[in-house]
C-alpha cells in the first residue's frame, strides 16, 4: 500500500472496518475487518465477485449506512484526519458531495427524473457553495459538462437524464460528482453497463481529471482489466474480507492468494495466446449469512488440505507488508505453486 513516510495519516485510512446487516434470514457479515489506505492522487482498485462486499465498503466510507437502521458499522474511517464513523450525521452530510463524491453503475438511478441535468448539477453546487448566484452556478455547470466531453453543453443543460445515451449519462453523473472538486472520488462499477469503446472514454476521463485535480480515487469493479488500467493499489475481496492487498504490479504479476489465481485463470485475455481451456475456481461464492468456518474460501480451494486442517478451522489473517495475503499456506509454498502450477496456465 502507499504509505507516507512522514508519520502522518494517509489521506483516507480505513481501519478494521466491519459492516453487518441484521435481516430476517440472519446477520449478513458484509464487510469484516477491512483495513486499507489511499493517498491523494492515487487510485485504489477493489475487485471481487458480486456480493463480496465491495459496494458496502464504499458506502460505509460515504456514511450511507447511516440511513439504514439495520446496519451496524464498527472500525475507523479517517478522511484527511477527520474520523467518520463517530462523526455527526450533519458533518458527514457536508462531506458527501463536497469533499467526497461517488459515481455509480446506473446513472439514471442517481438522476432525478423531473429535473433537468443542469438543474441537478446547479443544485449540487449551491448546496456546498452557499452564496453563489444561480448564474455563477450555471456557468460552473456548463463548464463541467464541457469538461467531461458532453457536446453542446448549453443545450444539454436543459435536457433530462433519460434523453441522454448511456455514455453521455455516465459523463453527466461524473460532472455532477466533480462539480465541487471532491478530493475523494468513489466509482462503483462506473463502466460495467457500457460498451468497451465508451468504457475506454470514461476511464480516460477519470484518469485525466485525477491528473488535473489530484483526487484520491477508489475504483470498484469486477473487471480485472479495468483495475490493471487504473489502479496503483489493489484490494481483492472474497466473502466480505480482503484476501489480498498490494501494489497493482505485485498483485497481477505475483498474485499470492488461491482465489486471485482463480480469478486470473477464469479470464480469457487478448494479450495472451488462446488457451485450450480456462481454469476457473470451482463452486460458487459463499452466503455472507453463513460463511464457511476457517478460511471462507476453503470449499472452493484446491489447496485447502495442504496445510493440515487450519484452512477448515482457523480464519487466516491478512499478513505481509506492502503485499499482504490472507492464506495459511507458507509464503515459499505460495510462490512455488504460483510459478509451477498456476502461471503456466494463465
Amino acid at each position: 500500500m502507499s504509505s507516507t513516510t512522514t508519520g502522518t495519516r494517509p489521506f483516507l485510512e480505513v481501519k478494521d472496518l466491519t459492516v453487518r446487516f441484521e435481516t430476517d434470514d440472519g446477520i449478513v457479515q458484509a464487510v469484516s475487518n477491512s483495513s486499507f489506505a489511499v493517498e491523494r492522487g492515487k487510485t485504489l482498485g477493489i475487485v471481487g465477485e458480486s456480493g463480496s462486499g465491495k459496494s458496502v465498503t464504499s458506502l460505509a466510507v460515504l456514511g450511507l449506512h447511516r440511513t439504514r437502521s439495520n446496519a451496524k458499522v464498527a472500525g475507523e474511517i479517517w478522511l484527511d484526519d477527520q474520523e467518520l464513523v463517530t462523526a455527526t450525521d450533519e458533518d458527514v452530510r457536508k462531506l458527501r458531495g463536497g469533499k467526497m463524491a461517488m459515481i455509480f453503475q446506473d446513472p439514471l438511478s442517481a438522476m432525478h427524473p423531473y429535473y433537468t441535468v443542469g438543474a441537478q448539477i446547479v443544485e449540487g453546487y449551491r448546496v456546498h457553495h452557499k452564496g453563489v448566484s444561480k448564474k455563477e452556478a450555471r456557468t460552473r455547470t456548463i463548464d463541467m459538462l464541457a469538461r467531461v466531453g458532453i457536446p453542446q453543453p448549453e443545450k444539454r443543460f436543459n435536457e433530462y437524464g433519460h434523453q441522454f445515451s448511456g455514455g453521455m449519462r455516465q459523463r453527466a453523473m461524473i460532472a455532477m460528482a466533480l462539480v465541487n472538486d471532491p478530493q475523494l472520488l468513489i466509482a462503483d462499477e462506473p463502466t460495467t453497463a457500457l460498451d468497451v469503446t465508451v468504457q475506454a472514454q470514461i476511464l480516460d476521463l477519470i484518469r485525466d481529471l485525477q491528473d488535473e485535480f489530484g483526487s484520491a480515487v477508489i475504483m470498484i469493479t469486477h473487471d480485472l482489466g479495468v483495475v490493471a488500467e487504473l489502479a496503483d493499489d489493489v484490494l481483492v475481496m472474497y466473502g466480505g474480507k480482503i484476501i489480498e492487498r498490494g501494489p497493482a504490479a505485485d498483485v497481477f504479476h505475483e498474485p499470492q492468494h488461491p482465489y486471485t489465481w482463480g480469478l486470473l485463470g477464469s479470464m480469457p485475455r487478448l494479450d495472451r495466446d488462446v488457451r485450450d481451456r480456462l481454469t476457473p475456481v470451482k463452486g460458487t461464492p459463499p452466503s455472507l449469512i453463513n460463511l464457511p468456518d476457517g478460511c471462507a474460501f476453503h470449499p472452493r480451494c484446491p489447496y485447502a488440505g495442504r496445510n493440515g486442517n487450519r484452512s477448515f478451522t482457523e480464519v487466516p489473517e491478512l499478513r505481509g507488508g506492502v503485499h499482504a495475503v490472507a492464506c495459511h499456506l507458507p509464503a515459499e509454498e505460495k510462490r512455488r505453486i504460483f510459478h509451477e502450477e498456476v502461471a503456466p496456465n494463465l
Binding site: 469486477h222 482489466g225 480469457p268 461464492p285
Partner: protein, 345 residues
C-alpha cells in the same frame, strides 16, 4: 451440398415505427440491414459489436423466432425464411437458443424438471427410461445435482440457472445452438465454468454454435470464426487468429484497442495505442449514407459518404477474411507501439 449448416443471405429485419390510431408507418428501425453469413457444421461463429448493432436480432432471425422482412434463411439446405408453424416444427427441434438473462428466461412457477422436460413433451420425443430420468441425465450433463429436479429457479444461483437454460436447450439434441450473451450476466469465475461447459458439450454432441457477445476476449476464446457487426451490418469477418492478429476494419481496430488489458505493466502501451472513438453510434432509423461507420471513422474520405463498401477480401487477405471498408487498416498501421496514423488519442 456445402458443409454449411446455416446460411443467411440479404437478411433484413426492419421494425416498423408507426404513428396514430391507424398505425401509419412513418419509418423503420433497420435492426438488421443486409447480412450474408454462413455457419459451418461443427464450428463456433462469434458475433460481436456494440449495444444495439443488431446481434440479438440476427440471432432471433437465425432461429426463426423472427421472420425476416427481406432475405433468406437456409437451414441444412432448406429455405425456412417464411415457413409457418408446421414448417417450423423440425427447426424448433434442431435449433435452440440460450439467453443472457438466466433469471427472466426461466418460468419462476415451474420446477426445473418441468422446465427441462417441456420441449421433450411438446415435440413428443420418446424417453425410454421415463421423462424424469431423461431430465436427470440432462441435469448431470450440465453439472447440476439430479436430485434438484423438483426445485424452482429462484433456488439456484445465476450460474446454475444458466446451466438449467443450457440443459433445456440440449434436451432435444439440437444441431445448432444460438447463444445470446450467455455468460454476460455472470461473475468471472462462473462465466469461465459455463464457457468450459459449452466447450465440452460441443465436443460431445458435435454441436454448432453461434455465440453472441460484446466481450471480445470471451468471443476470441470460444470462436473459430468471428463476425464484427456495426449498425445492422457485418463489417468484418475472418478466422479467429486472422481477425485478432490483422484486424482490417477501422471499427474492429478501435473495438479491440478499447479492451482493457489485465496487466499493469502494459498499461501505458495499451493507452498509447488506443483508438478512441468519439460520438455515439448513429440511429439505425437513419443510418449514414455510404459507409455506416464514416461518422466515427478517422480514415474516412469523400468516397466513404457515397459508396457503400462491399464485404470482400481486402489487401492480400485470404478469401475467408472479408472487410467492408474502402481503406482497410494495414499491418504497418497496427504494429505494436503505434496508433494508426491520424487516429484520435
Amino acid at each position: 451440398m456445402t458443409d454449411n449448416l446455416l446460411e443467411v443471405s440479404g437478411l433484413k429485419m426492419h421494425f416498423p415505427i408507426t404513428k396514430g390510431v391507424f398505425k401509419r408507418k412513418v419509418g423503420a428501425v433497420r435492426a438488421v440491414d443486409g447480412i450474408d453469413l454462413a455457419v459451418k457444421k461443427g464450428e463456433t461463429l462469434g458475433l460481436v459489436g456494440e449495444s444495439g448493432c443488431g446481434k440479438s436480432t440476427t440471432g432471433r432471425l437465425m432461429t426463426r423466432i423472427l421472420e425476416p422482412t427481406e432475405g433468406k434463411v437456409l437451414f441444412d439446405g432448406r429455405d425456412v425464411s417464411h415457413v409457418g408453424q408446421a414448417g417450423l416444427r423440425p427447426l424448433r427441434r434442431d435449433v435452440q437458443m440460450i439467453f443472457q438473462d438466466p433469471y427472466s428466461s426461466l418460468n419462476p412457477r415451474h420446477t426445473v424438471g418441468s422446465i427441462i422436460s417441456a420441449p421433450l413433451q411438446i415435440q413428443n420425443i420418446p424417453t425410454p427410461n421415463g421423462l424424469k430420468s431423461a431430465v436427470q441425465d440432462l441435469l448431470k450433463l450440465v453439472g447440476l445435482n439430479p436430485e434438484h429436479y423438483n426445485r424452482y429457479p429462484h433456488e439456484f444461483s445465476g450460474g446454475q440457472r444458466q446451466r438449467i437454460g443450457i440443459a433445456r436447450a440440449l434436451a432435444l439434441r439440437p444441431k445448432l445452438i444460438v447463444a445470446d450473451e450467455p455468460v454476460s450476466a455472470l461473475d468471472v469465475s462462473i462465466q469461465a465454468q459455463v464457457v468450459n461447459l459449452l466447450d465440452d458439450l460441443q465436443r460431445e454432441f458435435d454441436l454448432t454454435y453461434v455465440f453472441i457477445a460484446h466481450d471480445l476476449s470471451v468471443v476470441r476464446h470460444i470462436s473459430d470464426r468471428v463476425a464484427v457487426m456495426y449498425l445492422g451490418r457485418v463489417v468484418e469477418i475472418a478466422d479467429r487468429e486472422q481477425l485478432y492478429k490483422n484486424p482490417r476494419h477501422p471499427y474492429t481496430v478501435a473495438l479491440m484497442s478499447a479492451v482493457p488489458v489485465p496487466d499493469p505493466a502494459r498499461r501505458e502501451r495499451a493507452q498509447r495505442n488506443r483508438v478512441l472513438l468519439t460520438g455515439d453510434v448513429p440511429s439505425p432509423i437513419n443510418p449514414p449514407s455510404g459507409c455506416r461507420f464514416r461518422t466515427r471513422c478517422w480514415k474516412a474520405q469523400d468516397i466513404c459518404a457515397t459508396e457503400d463498401p462491399a464485404l470482400i477480401p481486402r489487401l492480400e487477405d485470404p478469401a475467408s477474411h472479408q472487410t467492408a471498408c474502402h481503406f482497410p487498416v494495414t499491418e504497418d498501421e497496427v504494429v505494436a507501439g503505434r496508433r494508426p496514423a491520424g487516429a484520435q488519442a
